[in-house]
Every structure is written in structure tokens, then in C-alpha cells.
Symmetry: C2
Subunit: 336 residues, 2 copies
């Protein structure tokens, strides 16, 4: 079994340096290149990644950091889809992907990521307004791309959607179908997505001259918070609920049904994300589609651009969202 570049060099009758050039695309004569490549193919030689990393200072591996509360992570398919989008893109660009989930404090996670020294760049989910992990990565010299962003990240590269606009459009839709007591179950407070969706909701309500102060309940992006939130809001006689995501809406739906109320007859319901199950609820859920896999893929592409020209300007990508109207707000209409 040919294990080292030296053996390969001996076998092909050239120097180790030349073999290295063949493998890494250096300048080598066609004749030599063909000969060496033939031997490589024949022997199934694979360069040792650790040695390569040590010698060159880059590993071809990118890090993915999803430091998220276990109660939020992987409860629905959101983070999985994000991961898959990244992986789809990275398969051609990178040697691999190191994944860190949030099992400890953010400081410890940061420590692990930075100390490993074997990633060339990182993609990190930046959901919280206040996040030492994100701050630490941005402050390091590791190329970093955020999924999500904070308004004060002036020099950061990120991929995100316009939560304010999207929330405004859902709320406006609810207004347009004639609802006036439109409630909102928020996402986890302190996250940008939650806060921005609140802003969008308030904006649309204010524009229509509708009050909303007693119609907001804090949730946490999970179904149980939707169920308990809806209980309170129904007592306050709302006629529509815009939930911060689809899982929350699923929880709300449970409560609404338990009260014997009709959707959308008594209460219209809307979510956010458009995960697979949204279309399969009864009734199918009106929601905002944000291409989660696309966001992951875009983050990966952005990271590689960043790594290609270091200290270039930050790259910021805002992906489009789409309001998907289904029977939970416009009942009786055939599914689109």
C-alpha cells in the first residue's frame, strides 16, 4: 500500500516536490503529470490531510457552528435543512465539514472552534442579538459567515432574509382578509428573527391603525409555546394569530381545535418557515417560505468567496421570502 508521497515519487521516478505539484496543480510538464497521475490512480494513493494542513496552513475543512438551545435545535427540520444546504454546496468545495452543536457554554464552544486550528473558515448561526460566540469568531482571524445577522455587524459577512418585510406581509395579508384582532406569538425573545418579526407585525398593524399591544405573547419557536400562547390570546378574543414559526403555529392549532373553534372561520392562523409539515396541517398553513436549504448553500458559497479573497469587503446576502397562502387563512379555496 502506497502511503507517502515519497514512495510515490520513487515509483514515478521524480522528486517528491514534483509529485506535490502534480497533486496540487502546480506547473509540471504534461508528460510528467500524466505519468504521475497514472501512478496515483494505480496505487490509490491519498495525501495525508494532517501533514498537508501542517505544511500548508490550510486544511480544506470548514467549520459549522450551531450553538442553539437543545430545546430549539432539531425539534423541527429547520436546522437540518440548513445543514443539508451547506453540505450540498461544500461537497465540491471542501474536504469536509466539522460540526459543533451547542452542548456547553458559548465560550467553551468558541474555544473548541478556535483551538482546533483545523478549519479554514466557519459558518455560524447568529440568531441572538447578543452572542459572545459570534463576537469571538468575528474577532478572530478565521473567515466567518453568519446565517442571520445583527444590525451592528457592520463588517461581518452574512446570509439572511428580511424578517421585517416578511412579517409585515403576513400581517398585511391577515388585515386584508378582514381581520382586526390579529395576535402575534413571538419567537424566542432576544433572537433577531423574533424581534424583527415583531417589528414587521407592529408596522403592518400600525399602518392599518389596528391596536396590537394586548395581542402579543412571547413564545420560543416551539409548539408548546404556541399552545399556551394561543390559550391566552383566544381569551382576548383575537380573530387571527400570526405565529413566529410553523412549529409555534402547530401548537396554536392544537389549542384552537381543543376549544372547538374553526380555522380560519373563527381564527385565521399563519406561520413562518414553510417546513414540510406546514402544508400537511389541517387546515394547511399559510406561512412565509424562506428557502432554508438555499440559505445554507448560499452561506457556504459566501464563505468560499471570503476565503478566496481575504480582507476583501464583507459580503452580505439577503435572500427573498415568499408569502404562501393556504386554507388556514383563506378557507375553502383550493390548495395552490
Amino acid at each position: 500500500m502506497v502511503r507517502t508521497i515519497d514512495e510515490l515519487a520513487r515509483l514515478s521516478g521524480v522528486s517528491r516536490a514534483t509529485v506535490s505539484r502534480v497533486i496540487n496543480g502546480g506547473s509540471v510538464s504534461d508528460k510528467t503529470r500524466r505519468r504521475v497521475e497514472h501512478i496515483v490512480a494505480e496505487t490509490g494513493y491519498r495525501p495525508n490531510l494532517a501533514a498537508r494542513t501542517l505544511a500548508s496552513g490550510r486544511s480544506g475543512v470548514v467549520g459549522v457552528v450551531m450553538h442553539v438551545d437543545p430545546h430549539l435545535l432539531f425539534r423541527d427540520a429547520y436546522f437540518g435543512q440548513l445543514l443539508q444546504g451547506m453540505s450540498d454546496e461544500l461537497v465540491d468545495l471542501a474536504a469536509g465539514m466539522m460540526l459543533w452543536l451547542g452542548n456547553r457554554t458559548k465560550e467553551q464552544t468558541l474555544d473548541k472552534v478556535l483551538s482546533s486550528g483545523l478549519v479554514d473558515g466557519v459558518i455560524v448561526t447568529a440568531h441572538y442579538r447578543d452572542d459572545p460566540l459570534v463576537d469571538g469568531l468575528l474577532a478572530s482571524d478565521l473567515p466567518t459567515v453568519l446565517v442571520g445577522h445583527r444590525r451592528h455587524d457592520r463588517t461581518a459577512s452574512y446570509v439572511d432574509v428580511d424578517h421585517v418585510h416578511a412579517a409585515d406581509s403576513v400581517t398585511s395579508h391577515l388585515i386584508q382578509i378582514g381581520r382586526t384582532r390579529i395576535a402575534h406569538i413571538t419567537g424566542m425573545r432576544g433572537t433577531v428573527a423574533a424581534e424583527d418579526r415583531i417589528v414587521g407585525y407592529r408596522r403592518a398593524m400600525a399602518r392599518a391603525g389596528l391596536p396590537c399591544d394586548d395581542l402579543m405573547i412571547d413564545g420560543d419557536f416551539n409548539a408548546p409555546s404556541g399552545a399556551t400562547g394561543a390559550a391566552v390570546l383566544l381569551d382576548r378574543h383575537c380573530d387571527a394569530i400570526f405565529c413566529a414559526n410553523d412549529s409555534t403555529a402547530m401548537g396554536a392549532l392544537e389549542t384552537i381545535r381543543a376549544r372547538g373553534l374553526a380555522v380560519p372561520g373563527d381564527v385565521a392562523l399563519a406561520g413562518f418557515d414553510d417546513l414540510d409539515f406546514a402544508a400537511r396541517l389541517d387546515p394547511p398553513l399559510t406561512t412565509v417560505r424562506q428557502g432554508v436549504r438555499d440559505q445554507g448553500a448560499e452561506a457556504a458559497r459566501t464563505l468560499f468567496q471570503l476565503m478566496a479573497d481575504r480582507d476583501g469587503t464583507p459580503r452580505r446576502v439577503i435572500l427573498p421570502t415568499e408569502l404562501v397562502i393556504r386554507q388556514s387563512t383563506v378557507g375553502g379555496v383550493l390548495r395552490p
Copy 2:
């Protein structure tokens, strides 16, 4: 900034070898150890993982391979939960976790995993009866733990549940509540989980003397296959459907509802997995709970045992499952 072990050695007035011993727990006098550790803490020195890997032959990184059809992966929370379970356990044991999803052919994935040379062991999901990727990993000298297993993996280490038994128990439950035309929408054919659940289903039906040949429809673990499968089965006048997983059941429920049939009145419905959403369907779904996160965690532990004593005997873990009875089979009863 102290970057190398040599600087650290100079600073603490000992040799590089001694510093290395301090860091790796070699035999060093208490006095020296304290002094060096103090300097380490003070300077925030972190050993370079690539150099360490190259010199020692181990990286502390483990690989996780989930080569699964994109239509299956991350559609529901199953794989995410698995990942989270592994991560929970690995955080203390490993320097990191490399993740490979199935973006290319299995051969290419195998190639990437083996060639990287920077994982000390791998956990791989082994769902298919026929899987060159799993075969390749088992044949390599990399310690490997399977999540799931094939009956012919005599020397492999794995973590799995008893699908046959679990499926038998669900089916028996349906029989016990008086159903006689009990249908089954299978999982993706060729996967062990699907085939074994079929065996369990048939076994229970045979024991009760019930026919089942015209009551099986192939599905693929996804909701759409549940919806189309149920359409066929309802035409064949079934009075219960056991679906190969919860997502499939969700799809089936959609069809049942569209026909104006009652669950469980007209058709009892059961799933498998007990993901979060199962309890939130209307009606809540009877299903088999398999602790997916536990499986992930157990796989990680098993891998480390395997790495600790190489060429030991294979380790095989069968985790328990639990039949969770909800209103989709026993309507009217208060939710547990």
C-alpha cells in the same frame, strides 16, 4: 501570542518534550507540571491539532456519515435528533465531529472519509441492506459503529432497536382493539427498518390468523407516500393503518381526512418514531417511541469503547422501544 510548544518551553524553562508531557498527561514532577500549566493558562496556548495528528497518528476527531437520500434526510427531525445525541456525548470525548452527508455516490463518500485520514473512528447510519459505504468502512481499519445493522454484520459494532418486535407490538395493539383489516404502509424497501417492520407486522397478523397480503403498500418513510398509500388502502376497506414512521402516518392522516373518515372511528392509525409532532397531530398519534437521541449518544459511547480497546470483540447494543398509545387508535381516552 504564544503559538508553538517551543515558545512555551522557553518561557517555562523546560524542554519541549516536558511541555508535551504536561499537556498529554505524561509523567512529570508536580512542581514542573504546575509551573508549565500556569504558563499555559497565562498565555492561552493551544496545541496545533494538525501537528499533533501528524506526530501521534490520532486526531481526537470522529466522523459521522449519514449517506441518506436527500428526500429522506432532514425532512423530519429524525436525523437531527440522532446527530444531537452524538454531539451531546462527543463534546466531552472528542475534539470535534466531522459530518458527511450523502451528496454524491456512496463510493465517493467512502473515499472522502477514508482519504481524509483525520478521523479516529466513524459512526455511520446503516439503513440499507446493501450498502457499499458501510461495507467499505467495516473493511477499513477505522473503528466503526453502525446506527442500525444488517443481520450479516457478524463482526460489526452497532446500536439499533428491535424493529421486528416493535412492529409486532403495534400491530398486536391494533388487533387487540378489534381491528381485522389492518394495513401497513412500509418504509423504503431495501432498508432494514422497513423490512424488519414488515416482518413484525406479518408475524402479528399471522399469529392472529388475519390475512395481510393485499394490505401492504410500499412507502418511503415520507408523508407523500403515506398519502398515496392510504388512498389505495382505504379503497381496500382497511380499518387500521400501521405506517412505517410518523411522517408517513401524517401523510396518511391527510388522505383519511380528505375522505371524511374518522380516526380512529373508521380507521385506526399508528406510526413509528414518536417524533415531537406525533403527539400534536389531530388526533394524537399512537406510535413506537425509539429514543433517537439515545441511539446517537449510545453510538458515540460505543465508538469510544471500541477505540479504547482496538481489536476487542464487537459491541452490539439493542435499545428498548416503547409502544405509546394515543387517541389515533384509542379515541376518546384522555391524552396520556
